[in-house]
């Protein structure tokens, strides 16, 4: 039932995408690949230029956060026992940080690029895409740390580790879709940023980043209604599924269920398609609104 609904929505979005000359737009975007590359590079360069430790910060930041959560959950709340907790936290924290940083940078990408948008004509989607790709580069750098930690804690590598690049790609596509919507909304309503601050906090706690889904009660009963809580978290929160896949590959050493994997990929593509459609629909008005 749910999937049929998703399916028909997908078809209608694909139809409207074709009306927006999707091939022409994609070709135009490809012509501007150099701009995306340059925006990512200049963004990274200026971020690290005036700090003494440079890009080491993108390694130290997740390590510091890992330390905080290890202290909180390892010592202050010793009831919650997870084996190799620092590693457990790190495998969830890095993808979450990537997501959160993408949202924060991407949401402001169009508003922040207003001096360009108001003066030069180029495919506007370049800005949110470059913002997410910039965070992707950071994320990949931070992965170096994770691999060190994996070796230190003698993690059990999954035989499916080779799918990791695909997982990262899925997350990038998903984040880009969300960012395309948010960056558009932020042009018209600056309230978007305020609202997102709260939403991101809620999202963080509703995503099994510092805890595992297994710690949640299986079902939640309120009066006559019984909600399958663990399942709901996965169904309603694509990020929960993504982080579960990261953990399967890097922490538990499991093989990820194929249908789980595919479902997450379809969700990501659908979100991206919707985001791109939404963005193109309103991007003509950016020049006058900013």
């Amino acid at each position: 039932m749910v999937y049929r609904g998703v399916h028909s929505t997908l078809i209608s979005i694909v139809e409207s995408l074709s009306q927006l000359h999707i091939i022409t737009r994609a070709r135009e975007l490809w012509r501007y690949r150099e701009l995306i590359r340059n925006l990512v590079i200049s963004n990274l360069k200026s971020r690290y230029k005036n700090s003494a430790l440079g890009f080491v910060w993108s390694l130290l930041n997740p390590l510091g956060m890992m330390l905080v959560f290890t202290i909180v959950f390892g010592f202050l709340m010793p009831d919650v026992r997870v084996e190799k907790y620092p590693l457990f936290v790190l495998t969830g924290l890095l993808p979450w940080n990537f997501f959160q940083a993408s949202i924060n940078a991407g949401m402001y990408s169009v508003v922040g690029g207003s001096n360009l948008v108001k003066k030069v004509s180029f495919p506007r989607e370049v800005l949110p895409i470059a913002a997410v790709l910039g965070q992707l580069v950071n994320f990949l750098l931070a992965f170096a740390v994770l691999f060190m930690a994996l070796v230190v804690f003698q993690a059990s590598f999954s035989p499916w580790l080779w799918t990791l690049p695909i997982v990262i790609l899925i997350q990038t596509v998903f984040s880009t879709g969300v960012v395309l919507v948010l960056s558009t909304l932020n042009v018209f309503y600056r309230d978007t940023a305020m609202i997102m601050e709260v939403i991101m906090l809620a999202w963080f706690f509703l995503t099994p980043v510092v805890y595992s889904v297994g710690m949640l009660p299986e079902t939640l009963s309120t009066g006559s209604l019984t909600v399958p809580l663990q399942r709901m978290v996965y169904i309603l929160n694509p990020l929960a599924s993504l982080i579960a896949i990261y953990r399967d590959l890097l922490y538990w050493g499991y093989r990820t269920d194929v249908d789980f994997f595919v479902r997450t990929a379809i969700t990501a593509v659908a979100v991206f398609a919707f985001g791109y459609w939404f963005f193109l629909r309103y991007s003509d008005r950016f020049g006058e609104e900013l």
């Binding site: 012509r31 501007y32 690949r33 150099e34 701009l35 590359r37 340059n38 925006l39 200049s42 360069k45 200026s46 230029k49 001096n115 360009l116 948008v117 108001k118 003066k119 030069v120 004509s121 180029f122 018209f188 309503y189 600056r190 309230d191 003509d284 008005r285 020049g287 006058e288 609104e289």
Partner: protein
Amino acid sequence: MTVVRRPQIQPDRPVVSLKNVSRAYDKQREYNRSLQQRLLRIITRKQRTPTDLFYPLQDVSLSIHSGDFLGIIGPNGAGKSTLLKLVTGIIVPTSGDLTVCGRVCSLLELGAGFHPDLTGRENIYLNGSIYGLNRREIDERVERIIDFAELGNFIDTPVKHYSSGMYVRLGFSVAIHTDPDILLVDEVLAVGDVNFQQKCLRSIENFRQRGGTLILVSHDLTTLQSICTRAIWLEDGRIQADGDPLDVGMAYLESMANREQTETSLAKTEEDSRRWGTGRIRIIAVEMYRTNGEIGGYFYTGEPVRIRVKFESDEAVSSPVFGIAIHHQNGTHITGPNTAHAGIELGTIHGRGWIDYIVPQLPLLEGVYTISAAVVNHNDTETYDYRDRICKFRVLSSRTSERYGLVVFGGHWQLETSAESAAPNHDHRLSPDSPRSSTAIPNA
């Protein structure tokens, strides 16, 4: 509403074509920016009324062909920038069809995409890619861009340390080297020092030879008329005139002068100009007349003009001296005739009257000029009345007169060539010593 943009020029088709294009803005746009305001509007059920909209462009149809050098003139708020923004692709029309073929490059905001922390060279790559060039294309151009911008060793310095001149020079250099098909210029020919400005003009001339299309917005009619092959006059969101730059410029200036005339005659009642003197003779007004006796606020170069100084005095004053001074709007003093220098003794004056200064052929060129008038005693020891810049007038030049500067000299040209000049590699020397053959070129 349809917008079509093609990356390539299509032969036999206009490069820019507007069909009944209108562009509306919401006057209250700023107020419904936040969600709160939007919700309030939904709750109070306030609908957007047509009066909330204003139209910088209304029903404009225009075809610009490949190779056109189009100048756009018009007062502030006429819709010129809106038109440029539409062609650039920053905004889209509210209604009407717009087609743009070819690569558009605007010199509206030079260096708009520069990143302050990056060096000049890095910014060339960044800026080039903003204009849609790929790396190979920028690689091919980077040396020419650096040469043109005259940045020398500074090319590897972050642009935040650049002077504003260097910044703009680099911006212009990148823009012009993207090989655009359509170049949009908004008053920018004032880039850098005189040398660089000439270089810019030369590169625009090269651009013309390559068959490029230029759209120039300028308040400087002289520059516009010397560059453009066609002009439109835009006002109140509509095209008022389209054609030869000299004709369109003339029509525009005449309409502006007519409007000024009605406006200044209203403003004249106010005592806004500076005035001093003992008041034994008072200057009431200065008026300018055409030959037909009509008061005018604008005149053509070469037209006969009568400048009338009206005065009054309550007592008899003997041997006063009247004088006027004509200044260009920018403050340059052009002339200051007075009755004493002309050798005229005016006798005794009592009551009201006027004195005329008659100019047989107005030698002034296009511009706005002011007249000051004064009356003093015979040896200039007492100023009865001094009215600074009491009267303002505009001069329009017809196309046959001299065009640069402030005054017409009315001279004529004479060419002389020596017999040796028949040989190849001759030079044209204008020397009075060797009058072998001489041709007088009649004064235009």
